[in-house]
């Protein structure tokens, strides 16, 4: 880049001289997408992987997901709120789902935490049948030296292939 380009850039921003290195972080971004086609094989096959592109410098992502699993009251759907970082052992989620035991027992919430050693990050609610597939891992990883993704891994606990079915809103904090 030419010298004058260097100088032109800060002139666009008032008070640049008061900004430190850490202030030049990436802009937050909001990503909405869905996946209704990923075929996840049953265990003992490996998890189904869904990569969602995020900015290369992303450090923290919060995300919400919606399934098609109907909860017991009112027709709402199962879903979760979660936090993911570049570490695969830091993700934590809060899920809302149904007990599947009986109508009267209804809905409930549960928290899953990788720091606590949780096997999964959700109930089994993300298949096209509304059951069988759990979110197992969520973390940020490099695909190439120039691209980073939010990697979501899903485990199919059924005896046959299942198709993923979920909607996500992921927000890159920085």
């Amino acid at each position: 880049m030419r010298l004058q380009d260097f100088v032109e850039h800060p002139s666009l921003h008032a008070a640049l001289t008061g900004i430190g290195v850490d202030d030049h972080h990436i802009r937050p971004s909001n990503i909405e997408t869905n996946n209704t086609s990923l075929v996840v094989p049953p265990l003992p096959a490996g998890p189904g992987v869904w990569d969602i592109a995020v900015p290369l410098d992303a450090l923290v992502v919060v995300f919400s997901m919606r399934s098609i699993l109907t909860t017991a009251e009112g027709g709402g759907k199962g879903g979760l709120n979660g936090i993911a970082t570049r570490s695969s052992i830091e993700a934590t989620t809060l899920s809302t789902s149904t007990t599947l035991i009986g109508w009267a027992t209804g809905t409930y919430a549960a928290v899953y935490s990788k720091p606590a050693g949780a096997l999964n990050l959700s109930h089994k609610m993300f298949s096209s049948l509304g059951d069988d597939i759990s979110l197992t891992d969520a973390y940020l990883t490099l695909l190439t030296p120039f691209s980073r993704v939010l990697r979501l891994q899903f485990t199919n606990y059924a005896a046959a292939n299942r198709t993923l079915n979920c909607w996500i809103e992921a927000q890159v904090f920085g």
Binding site: M1, L3, F6, V7, H9, P10, L12, H13, L16, T17, I19, G20, V21, D23, H24, H25, I26, R27, P28, S29, N30, E32, T33, N34, V62, S64, M65, R66, S67, T71, A72, E73, G74, G75, G76, K77, G78, G79, L80, N81, L94, T96, S97, A104, T105, G106, T107, Y108, A109, W167, E169, Q171, V172, F173
Partner: protein, 162 residues
Amino acid sequence: MRLEEKAKFVTAHGLVVTTPADHHPPAESWKVICNGLSIPPGTYDYRVALVYAGHQVVKVILRATLMVDTQGHSGLYAVGGNAALTSMAVISKGVEITGYVTSYMGAYSRLHGDAWLSQIGMFGSFIALTDLFIDGSDVVLRFSNVAGTNQDLIVYGSGVSK
């Protein structure tokens, strides 16, 4: 500051790989207090004016006045972006429905095509949250009154945008 000093400063901070958009405004937090605002049938935009424009993400936790069986109030957690119809909400605790033992929970996604982000009646009789997004330097909490007459909007909460 001399020209070469400016250039040195910029280089030292790695600005060469950033754009003006990277110098985004700081995060803001705000509260929602609406105790009985009469709104007409149809949609009503409750706007929160931000200090800065250019925010990209918004999150709110909204509380209704309906009691749930653990003596708390019903409410939800919702997230949105800088465009309508992309928001999502996960109800952390809904209202107990008479006749059933349990309380209500559910996830809603406007991206998925859900019409609502909450139960109808959660934020006043016949009133539901239907969308959440950033519009310029405003946060918009879009409610819908599905009754044929004016209804009182009742909602409290906190939000953050960045």
